[in-house]
Amino acid sequence: MKKNLARIVLTGVFILFAIWFIYPTYRDNQLNKELATKTGQDSVDFITNYGDKLKKSREDRIKLGLDLKGGMYVVLDVDVIKFLEDIAKKKDDILIGILGELKEQTKTTDLPIIDLLVTKLNSRGLTLKSYYGGDRDDAKAVEKKLNDEIDNAIDIAVRVVRTRVDQYGVAEPQLQKIGNKRIIVELPGVNNPDEVRKLLQGTALLQFQLLKDPAITYKVMQSINKVLAGDTTQVSSNDTLKSNSLAGTKETIKKDTTKITKKDTANLKSDKKEKSKTDTKKDTTKSKKDTVKNKDTSAINTDTASAQDSIANMSIEERKKKFPFFMLVKLYEGGGADGYVEENDKPQVDFILKRADVKAVIPSDMVFLWSQKTIDIEGKKYFILYGIKKDAELTGKVVEEAKSTIDPQTNSPVVTMGMSSEGAREWARITGANINKRCAIVLDGIVYSAPVIKSKITGGSSQIEGMANIQEAKLLEIVLKAGALPAPLKIIEERSIGPSLGEDSINKGLTSSMGALLLVALFMIVYYKFGGGVADFALLINVLFVVGVMAAFKATLTLPGIAGLILTLGMAVDTNVLIFERIREEQNSGKPLRTCIDIGYKKAFSAIIDSHLTSVITGIILYQFGTGPIQGFALTLLIGIVVNLFSAIVITHFIFDILIEKGKQISFG
């Protein structure tokens, strides 16, 4: 009896523990159910009153995996290649070529990138330090420094992503750094995959870059045009923007000038008057000469005199041949050297700008960047191509504050930014020195706006506009506040589950579990009679314990996890069967019941241990090599096996002992 007392107490304690750990899950369910029935003020009151309880229950409950709750699972990979490209001291074609090769290679292998890079460089007779170090540094030191920088970048990336995710407002997000260049992000309950992708992948590199002088931009465009047209003559210095107005088609300018105005307003005061309809004839360049009639299609003159050579007289094919670039990139009177490109033509222009011969005529301090949005002109959508100074005047590092809001004047979403005091000083200097010039606000290489600097700005404040809606603005705010990613991140694996599928899975899981439990319990009673009944009781406690252990470890329940639970039910039966069959065998030899039971347990023990341990081995391996839901399965299986050992051997045994002492005749069928 003493032996049994210990066992009873132990079991009792475990049961209490199990209930204690499971209770929060139950309470969470109940509270949420109640909350769902309340509306309006009632629900607000409810949350205020039960706020703490709600929070605690949520934290302590069993977590549902993404496949049961819905949400997103994303694996981010740090784009080390791009990082290497960005930090190289010297960026020549050889390096770009090698990095391109590496990019292809690393798509399928996971070898250390620096080693591959060194090999490739050495095979061409180059060293790492020619691109990443000083002449005085020795090769090994450069390699180590580079590796350190990469590690550092990855850690910063993890931090930035964590901040962004935290601010995004997902309940219980999970972030994990895996290996040394991957980040796993789990966002339960999220059902806007696009937003999340933007949130996680955008490098958020904010730069304030001045536009190039429109005259120069125009010259470059002409050079490009000539390259495309196969024309090898030089661009004459007489070709100035002011002497050429419309290029290309028949569109009128009226409509777009007002739209430019709207788009380019910022805290920087822009002079609307200058861009109003009545002034279409004036250029936005410093020239005051009035040149062209806007309504007709005027020519691109190669000399100021022959303005009669209107493009309108050429056929479309001739135009395309002579001015291929300007057929795609249209300039407008009053639009400076901003190129308007139809939405459908954008990929082609991108392609053109990437051509080696085209790149050769673009000055090294200049870059062409696209606008973030399209504007409507006569029913067609146009992107704007800007000619921009490559070097940024100021970067997002100086931005300390960001807030998304609706601009009261324009009623459109904007993000206002506040700078550090250093940044404010710089900004004042820059704006002071560039009055009437345009400054582009560039995020991740895309121009959000390019307003004219009307006056010196001393407050250190600035504004980004051009977002489609307030959600986009909010994303931008989060991303600006969290900081820029030192290296770009790529999503290499993504799984999104909608919430309805999750609910569906839960239901199916629960039905199956109950069905299986019922069947098994029934069989045990039918086959092993009373003994079977006791086994069933132990089975229920088994389930309680498994769930309790999971709650205690705050493990996550997944759909395969539920399958694992069901499986352990089957295996639990196995243990009982082993024992009961032995008991039956002993009963055949006519021994007293109590002895039979004891012998049965003893003899079956070795088999039980061995068989359970082999299952444990495969369970552990499955946990090691599986991911996500599979690990959930392995976990429930392992917990189930261990718990089962206890309940089948200890619990049923002492129950039998007690009953026999009380004189009950137990039948094993």
Binding site: I497, K508, A516, L567, L569, K603, G626
Partner: protein, 316 residues
Amino acid sequence: MRILHNTNIDFLGKRKIFYIVSVSIIIIGMILLYLKPIPLGIDFLGGTELQVKFANDVNIGEIRDIMDKNDFPGMEIKSMGGPKFVLLRTPLQGEGQTVSDKIISVLKTNFPDNTFSVERIDKVGPKIGAELRTKALFAVVFSLLGILIYLAFRFQLIYAFGAVIALFHDVLITVSAVAIFDALIPSLKLELNQTMLAAFLTLIGFSANDTVIIFDRIRENIKLFKNEDIQTVMNKSVNATLSRTVITSGTVFLTVLVLFIFGGEVLRGFSFTFGIGIITGTYSSVFVASSIVVDWKNRVHDKFTIKGKTKLSTAK
């Protein structure tokens, strides 16, 4: 109530038949696998997979035509448990989300009146796919190895080998069976993915379970029946444990059946494979594992002696 009680079947005497049966199934399976391999899920292949639920019934053929015309030739499209549910899969995964977005927009433009919700999107890059494949292989190899080592400690090395060969045989037969059923009943939509891997590993564990129970009894009986030859002892042991083996396998099979019927699409592949695994596992434990041990012993003539246990004559 008793099932299979006091049987006296000469399992080991008939072992040649069982060898032939096993080998035949495996050969058929391997041929089938060669001709029509079981498709790899995107877990192992990489790719994009969308599960879409339409408001109204849709015609798979129609969707297939539309996809063919829109840069997705030969995309895999299946219905998933109802005429409103569609599963689309392509091995492409472009940068970021371009592929899934394109698929969604193609569906939107071509089915303007039939609203749909995207229930699940899975995107796996090729690097991850390759990694998971390697991991899967290692997982299977390591489990077999782990079990081999553990059993070598608890029993003799030869028993460990016998058990592991039986396990390996189980994996092969299950794979063959999956191939056969995949060919016969394509609507089962079997494919190799992570859940299937879980099924295989679980069945390895389960079959080992079975085999160990029988070996345990053999170990016990060898001590008891010192004067009998190994084959008789084994037969006795297998017969004695037969009832228990069948019952356990039966109950686990029952739970898996419930899972198969009610568990939903995600677990269907798992429950099917594991169900087959239970059957072959039981079969291999009863018919194959001990047979291998006997034949080895006969051949090698007690080269491996038992640790301090009685030697047995190997006379037939």
